[in-house]
Symmetry: C2
Amino acid sequence: MFVNLPEIVKRGFPVLTWGKNYSLDVAIADLVAGITIGLTLIPQCIAYASLAGLGPEYGLYSSLCGGIIYVIFGAVPELNIAPTALLSLLTFTFTNNASFGKVKAAILLCFLSGVIELLCGILHLGFLVDFVSTPVVAAFTSAGALTIASSQIKNLLGLNFKADSFAAVWSNVFQHITETKMWDSILGIGCCVVLLLLRKLKDYGSPPLDDHKSVSKSKKLIWFCSVARNAFVVIACAATAFFFDSCGEKPFSLTSKVPEGLPAFTNPVAEAHHGNATTSVVDMMKELGAGIFAVPFVAILGNVAIAKAFAKGKVIDASQEMIAVGMCNLIGAFFGSYPVNASFSRAAVSNASGVRTPLAGIYTGVMVILALTFLTPYFSYIPKPTLAAVIICAVIFMVEVALTKLIWRINKIDLVPFFVTLVFCLVLGIEFGILIGVCVDILFLLYRTARPKVVFDYVNENSTSYVKITPTSAIFFPSVEYVREKVMQNSVKYIFLVFDCQRVSKLDFTAAKSLSALLDDLSKMQKVVVFYRPPAPVVKILTKVAEGGPKIAETEENLYEILKEHDKTRRENIAISVEEKESNTQL
Amino acid sequence: MFVNLPEIVKRGFPVLTWGKNYSLDVAIADLVAGITIGLTLIPQCIAYASLAGLGPEYGLYSSLCGGIIYVIFGAVPELNIAPTALLSLLTFTFTNNASFGKVKAAILLCFLSGVIELLCGILHLGFLVDFVSTPVVAAFTSAGALTIASSQIKNLLGLNFKADSFAAVWSNVFQHITETKMWDSILGIGCCVVLLLLRKLKDYGSPPLDDHKSVSKSKKLIWFCSVARNAFVVIACAATAFFFDSCGEKPFSLTSKVPEGLPAFTNPVAEAHHGNATTSVVDMMKELGAGIFAVPFVAILGNVAIAKAFAKGKVIDASQEMIAVGMCNLIGAFFGSYPVNASFSRAAVSNASGVRTPLAGIYTGVMVILALTFLTPYFSYIPKPTLAAVIICAVIFMVEVALTKLIWRINKIDLVPFFVTLVFCLVLGIEFGILIGVCVDILFLLYRTARPKVVFDYVNENSTSYVKITPTSAIFFPSVEYVREKVMQNSVKYIFLVFDCQRVSKLDFTAAKSLSALLDDLSKMQKVVVFYRPPAPVVKILTKVAEGGPKIAETEENLYEILKEHDKTRRENIAISVEEKESNTQL
């Protein structure tokens, strides 16, 4: 086999392809998009880090590495690899109780996720995510959003309790509702209102796409204000808190102190020392448990789906996208990153901002570096209710209400996997829910394969009557007995059976064997079976299983010829056997 | 809903249907068949009981209940519910190490298997066995036969060691080969040779079917001697041993003493007292473990397959067959039965003997009662090597060599599940092997569903050129991304895409959603998509997902009309846009 090395290098480093034609025009477009994304990203990262149970700096560390490394390995300009709500929630779920410290656990999880994503990319295992249907993904996302939004209610109202699951959170909220902190609630709910209004504003503005030059500057400004709403709200609230602080007042719950500067290089797979104890990497992995697979699975699921959504008709190299996100996590872990992937909302902003190449990530990265260098002292003034509002206003739109209606309209039965997944995600946690969803998906699939539609037409034409049997898909082993039974039940009164094989593209061994038994049984019952237009591979099998060779009709005329001929022989045979019997009785 | 009680009673007790027309003719046919079966069955039961690690009497108890109860609940005359080689092996596997005694364990396993079989029958869960493909069943049976034959080598040669797995047995045989007992070996190998020769004799005889009256009596006698070979060999060997014993010699390893008379009524679900300890039923069930599911699964698998093989074109009520075998086990357990089901070889003998109704089981039952009443004192003279020879000569024909060749000829890829199952059955034990086989089956199935064949034809006719895309089966969620990618890759150079939907019978929600995205992408790329002859449910979905309504062609002329019209508009649009650009540059 000939290995095309330049081609492999080109596939592995898409930067070599798009980098060749990088021009000033493209650079300006990327700069505008990069800055816009930065303004969305930085406040989101701080908020999502708190969701993952980590300090704000880890959110920024994560977005820094993700953005820069994707430039080298990624091919889809719209994708921005950074913390997301779902992965933050999963990180929290799997690392919160780690005995060796949750920061260490989150970073190790990031590293291991990266390794698995990379392996999936190299081994082309991305097709595995195809086995999760859209309804299950939608239910998983919705349940995740509901869980996240619920988990933030306590920060929004300034409550103080510990609860993980959806049900526990709400029961605690009602138990502790009397402890609501007034100023926290006012600020939190106020932030929500402002964020939702600013979000709505986008409909009245226009994105800065370069080919719409007729759009007025004010419209572009409106759009920009809407997109940068998180930044505005966070800055305004932090400024307010700073002002109160300088007056000696502390009305809001604030974020904890944040270390200044860029992330230090750390080894994610070093054994952990905590107190007097040491935990080996193997024990650390045991504690992370199923998270090692759940996190990369969800990351790949999201990334491939988003990449495809923004493919604009181009074919996405799903394996390369997995390698890219894998490298982001793998390398990121050495610089304090927790698990990252692409986010649909950021990709949408990126797309609307007119991004042209993944290099936009560099500009976003520079903004993150600036934030880490100059703004960290002020991060501790960001009120917790503000971050809760940022999170809630981001995730509530992930609850797929419209999609539910669409499923109802298109294929009602698909609501079953949707609601099963949703309920189990909310009751048992999203990591179990999606597993159950996938199982339901596969059961549905197996059922559909096991019970294909077989159409029976009773034809009475050209003075012959026959039953036409049309299986509407390939026949694989789970359906053979069902098909055989249907054929037996529905052809009792007919002598001639015509199998319309046009849609049967394939038969496996079990199907061939069962067909052979069926043909034997039918021939014992003096029935005549004709195969109408079987494709070549099916003909090959038929000649092997049908005793005395199968009767095959290639055209309709052909079919009637065969039927008439057999009708004649049959009548003659009956006559002969009657004669024989008569002669026997005479003896 | 109207419940047709008489119909339900009639279905539940097939005896009411066939019993009505029971005549002397039928009774004689059944009697001949019943006695023939009895002569095969009794020596087999004694041998299989030793395979299951139980005394010979349990084999007879089991065949007694199975045969009589099936008369009431069963519908297939050929079926004879009694111990079989595979179930005996499984019983040994799951009960041999039971802390509360293996007899008690085997009887409890029989009861629980009966309960599960009954439930599967009532809940119509029989379709589950459809998910085991013929290659996997064949591999399981072959591996079972090899394991059983191997396990008997030690009895054949008079060796003494303990080993369960296939590999362990053979390594022990070679280690202990020097301890071979001469007389045991001579008798065992001699029995094998005689049994195989008698088996071969069948080809020169004729079965006593009443419609072949011209066949000579000597031919019938030859056939009968061949079928009753087990009985002859066992009686001859026991007589020899008795003779030696009366001379004060004991050259052979003999069977242990057997209690006389019919089985006593026992409660299979009573707690077990052994020594000073008491084991509760729950603890007993825990010890049986996966056996509680493995045994009924294999029993149902075998029973339904055998019932279908002898259906002769009639539709088998698989649920009723499950209920019948369930009742045999459930009631049998109260009379000392261990798990039973039908055996293919006995069904074949039964069929050849001209059995007419399940009542033949009563005659066989009477023979078993006679054996238990009068012959038990002589059972202890049956040499162990003789029983080993009976077992080996029965199971070696279960190794599916011919089928392997057939799979190779019909569908080579199906050899993968065959050999995977075979190897794992031999290495890990047949109970694990079949589980792995079913997993491989399902993976194959999922892969086939995920990667349907899509045919691309590049058509250039009637002065239009288009690409015709033909998916050859229903499109379900795991295949949508694959199909979408294929379409994108293979239609780059064409403006007109024609989806030939004749074979697409169904789209699930994920497929519809993906199709919608594909249509969006294609329309952005200025491509025109026409659907050729979609069936009604697909049209319904298309109208919901295609923006501006789908273009549907019902006939070929229709298709060319649509294509030509769109070609015209497209050319005009290009002309207009060129004009616009020109006028823009002029401004």
